[in-house]
Symmetry: C2
Subunit: 399 residues, 2 copies
C-alpha cells in the first residue's frame, strides 16, 4: 500500500470537508482494506461529469486498495411518497429498480473498478426490518436535531409541511452504514447532515463511526453555475467523443484546474507538472486537450480519445475540414426533420441555442460545405458534415 | 335499543368534548352495534376511581348494546425507551404484559360487562408490521401538526429533546383504530390530540373516522386537585369497603354531584330525583351514602355495600362502636410491627398522615377502646378495633 501521506494527498484533493481527518488517517494507518460507501437514488440515472466527481473519489480509494460499495437506495424508492401528494415520486417497481441499476452499472464501471466494487441495495436489510426496529431507529435522533438540517429548517420556518416519514430517511441512510459496516461515506455537500447521522447511528449500534467526506458540486462549462442538464452547461458521460471534446476544449481556461482536481485520476504530481508547463508558456488549450483525452478515454476508450485529440489538433481555416471528423449522434426521437439550430445545440457544436442562432445569423455555419440560414431544416435518418465557426465540426448522424 | 335522544343524554353526561356530536348521533341512528375503544398502558395497573371515569362511560355504551374494546398498548410498552435515557421505561417482557393484563381484567370487569368486552393487545397487528409500513404510516402526519400537541410544543420551546420515535406513537395509536375499525374512541382530555390522529389515519386507510369523546379528570376527595395516589386524595378500586365508605361519605358536599355525573351508572332521571331530594331538605350525607353504596357494591358486591351502609348509618358518640364494623385489610408486607399513624393513614381512617398525627396528638384515637399515643405500635398478624374521632372506625386486619 502507498505511503499514508501520499494517500491522504490524493484523497483530500478537491474535497469540501473531511470529518474527521485525523480519523481517516488512523483508519488508513490500520492497514485494513477500508469499506467506502456512497449512496445513489434508484431513479433512472442519466449521469454527467458533475455526478462523476464522487465516483472519481471512489476510484481513488480503489486505486489505493480499498473496497467501494455502490449503494442503491431502492428501499425508500420503492415506498415512493406515502403522503400521496408528490405524484412525481411514484413508488418504483422491483423491475424498474433492476433496469435502473443495470444502467448505473454500465455508466459507473467506466470509472469504478468492477473487481473492487460491491453493488448493493438497501432493501436487502430494510425489507425484512420490523416496525419495532424502525421505532428503535427513530429513537436515535431528535426533532430539534432534524430541524437543524438546512432544508427542513427552511421549510419549517416557511410553514411548509414536512411529513414525519421525511425525518426517518436520514436515519435509514444512517442505518445503511451500520448494515454495511462502512468506514468512510462520500456524498455531496448537501448530504453532510445525512452522512453525519450515519456516525450517530453507528455509535448506537456499537460500531466505530464512519469518516464523512463531502465533495463540492462541479461548476458547469460556464464556470459559474453548477453543472446541470437543465442549465445546458454540462457534459454527459454518454455524449459522443466529438461533442465531449468540443465542450471540454472550449471551457474557460480558469476552469481547467478545477476539472483536473475533481475529475482526473492523475496524481497530484502529474497535475503539478502540467501547471508548471502553463507557467512556462504552454497553451492552455493543450492542457485542456490532455484532460479531454483522459475523460474521453474513460468513457469511450483509448481509440476514440486518440482520434478526437488528433482531429482537433489540426489548425483549420473556416470552412476547411479535418481528416478525422468526430462522429456525433443526435436523436430527434421520431421526427422526420430537425431544425439546424437544435442540431448545433444538441451536438455540442454550439454551447447553447443563443450561440447557435448567433452563428447562423453571421453565416458561420456550413452543412456539407454550404452556408445555411437560421431556419434551415435537416432530415433525420442520414448524416451531415457540419462546421460551426473555425473550431467546431463533426459528422452529425441524425436519427 | 333505547331511543336516540335518551342514549345521547346518558352518553354526553360528564364528557369534556365530543368530536363530532352530529357524527355520534348518526352512528347511533344507524342501529349498528358500535365498536367503542379505549387504550390502556401495559404497565402494572393500580386503579383508583379517577381511572374508572372512562370505564364507566364504556359501560354506559355497553348498557346501550354496543361493543367495547379494552385495548392494551403492549407493542410500545415492549419497546420501552429506545433512546436508553429513560431508565424507568424499561421494555416489558411478554410475561409482564400478561400478568398486568390479568390484573386489569380483575379490576375492570367490576365495571365492564365481560360479555360485551374484547380485550385486545396492539402487538397483535404491530408485531408483524414492516418498517416500510411504519414509514407509510409516518407519512400520514407532519412535523408542524405534531408540534401542535401541547406537551411537544412546550418541550420543543423549552429546548428539551423530543426523540423522533415519540412522533410515531400518536400514529401508532391512530393505526390501532384502523386495525380495530373503531367507531368511537374514549380518552382523557390529555389524549385529545392522539384520538384525533386516529381520525386522520382512518381516513387515509379508507375508513369512516371515529368519533372522539374526551372525559375530564376526576377531582380528588379534596375537590380541588385531580385524583392521584401521590396526592393522597384518592379512592383505590381495591380499597376495603369500610375505607371506601369513610372516604366517600366524608367528601365535601359540593363534590358529590360531580362524582354521580362521572362515576354512577344511574340514569340522568334518577340523579335528577336525588337532586330534588336535597333541594327539598334531604341530608347531603344520605346522598353520598347512596353513591358509596353503588360504588362499594360495584367493587365488593352487594353484601359489603349493605353492611358498610348500615354501619355508617348509626350515629355514634366518640368512643361508641357500631354493631357492624367495616373490616379493613392493611398489609405491612412482612413487618412484625406497624406504627399507629401509618395504620390510620393506610386504612383510610385518616385522610393523610398529617391528620393521623393530629388526631393522635389530641387523644382522639382508640385501639380496642384505649386511647393511644403518637408512637404506639401495633402487631401485624392480628386485628384491632380502631376508632378515629366520632365518625371513623373499623376492624383493622393487619398483615
Amino acid at each position: 500500500m502507498t505511503d499514508i501521506a501520499s494517500a491522504l494527498g490524493i484523497l483530500q484533493r478537491g474535497t469540501h470537508e473531511i470529518l474527521v481527518a485525523s480519523e481517516l488517517r488512523k483508519k488508513l494507518e490500520s492497514g485494513r482494506k477500508l469499506r467506502i460507501k456512497a449512496g445513489f437514488d434508484p431513479t433512472a440515472p442519466d449521469l454527467h461529469l458533475g455526478h462523476s466527481v464522487l465516483l472519481t473519489k471512489m476510484r481513488q480509494f480503489q486505486d489505493l486498495g480499498h473496497e467501494v460499495i455502490f449503494l442503491i437506495g431502492d428501499f425508500t424508492g420503492r415506498i415512493g411518497d406515502p403522503t400521496g401528494k408528490n405524484v412525481t415520486r411514484k413508488p418504483l417497481t422491483e423491475e424498474e429498480v433492476k433496469i435502473n441499476a443495470q444502467t448505473y452499472r454500465e455508466q459507473v464501471f467506466k470509472i469504478l473498478d468492477p473487481d473492487k466494487t460491491e453493488v448493493r441495495f438497501n432493501a436487502e436489510w430494510f425489507s425484512s426490518m420490523s416496525a419495532a426496529d424502525m421505532i428503535e431507529l427513530a429513537g436515535q435522533s431528535t426533532v430539534a436535531r432534524m430541524l437543524e438540517r438546512d432544508d427542513f429548517d427552511k421549510r419549517y420556518s416557511a410553514g411548509q409541511p414536512i411529513s414525519i416519514h421525511e425525518f426517518l430517511y436520514p436515519l435509514v441512510q444512517g442505518y445503511d452504514s451500520v448494515a454495511l459496516e462502512t468506514d468512510v461515506e462520500l456524498g455531496g455537500t448537501d448530504q453532510k447532515f445525512n452522512l453525519l447521522m450515519g456516525r450517530e447511528v453507528q455509535k448506537h449500534f456499537g460500531q466505530t463511526p464512519q469518516v464523512v467526506i463531502t465533495m463540492p458540486l462541479l461548476e458547469g462549462l460556464d464556470g459559474v453555475q453548477k453543472m446541470s442538464k437543465s442549465l445546458g452547461n454540462y457534459v454527459g458521460v454518454d455524449e459522443a467523443p466529438g461533442a465531449m471534446f468540443n465542450k471540454l476544449v472550449s471551457m474557460p481556461d480558469s476552469l481547467m484546474w478545477r476539472y483536473f482536481e475533481l475529475l482526473s485520476l492523475k496524481s497530484n504530481e502529474e497535475i503539478a507538472a502540467l501547471r508548471r508547463d502553463v507557467d512556462a508558456g504552454a497553451n492552455p488549450r493543450d492542457i485542456k486537450m490532455v484532460l479531454a483525452r483522459e475523460l474521453i478515454g474513460r468513457y469511450h476508450g483509448e481509440e476514440a480519445a486518440t482520434n478526437a485529440h488528433r482531429s482537433a489538433g489540426n489548425q483549420l481555416a473556416e470552412g476547411e475540414l479535418p481528416e478525422d471528423l468526430p462522429e456525433i449522434d443526435v436523436d430527434f426521437e421520431g421526427s422526420a426533420q430537425a431544425p439546424i439550430a437544435a442540431v448545433l445545440n444538441r451536438s455540442g457544436l454550439a454551447n447553447n441555442s443563443a450561440q447557435a442562432k448567433d452563428m447562423l445569423g453571421n453565416g458561420r455555419v456550413r452543412v456539407d460545405g454550404e452556408v445555411v440560414a437560421r431556419d434551415h431544416m435537416l432530415e433525420t435518418g442520414r448524416s451531415y458534415v457540419i462546421q460551426a465557426g473555425k473550431k467546431r465540426y463533426g459528422r452529425i448522424i441524425l436519427s
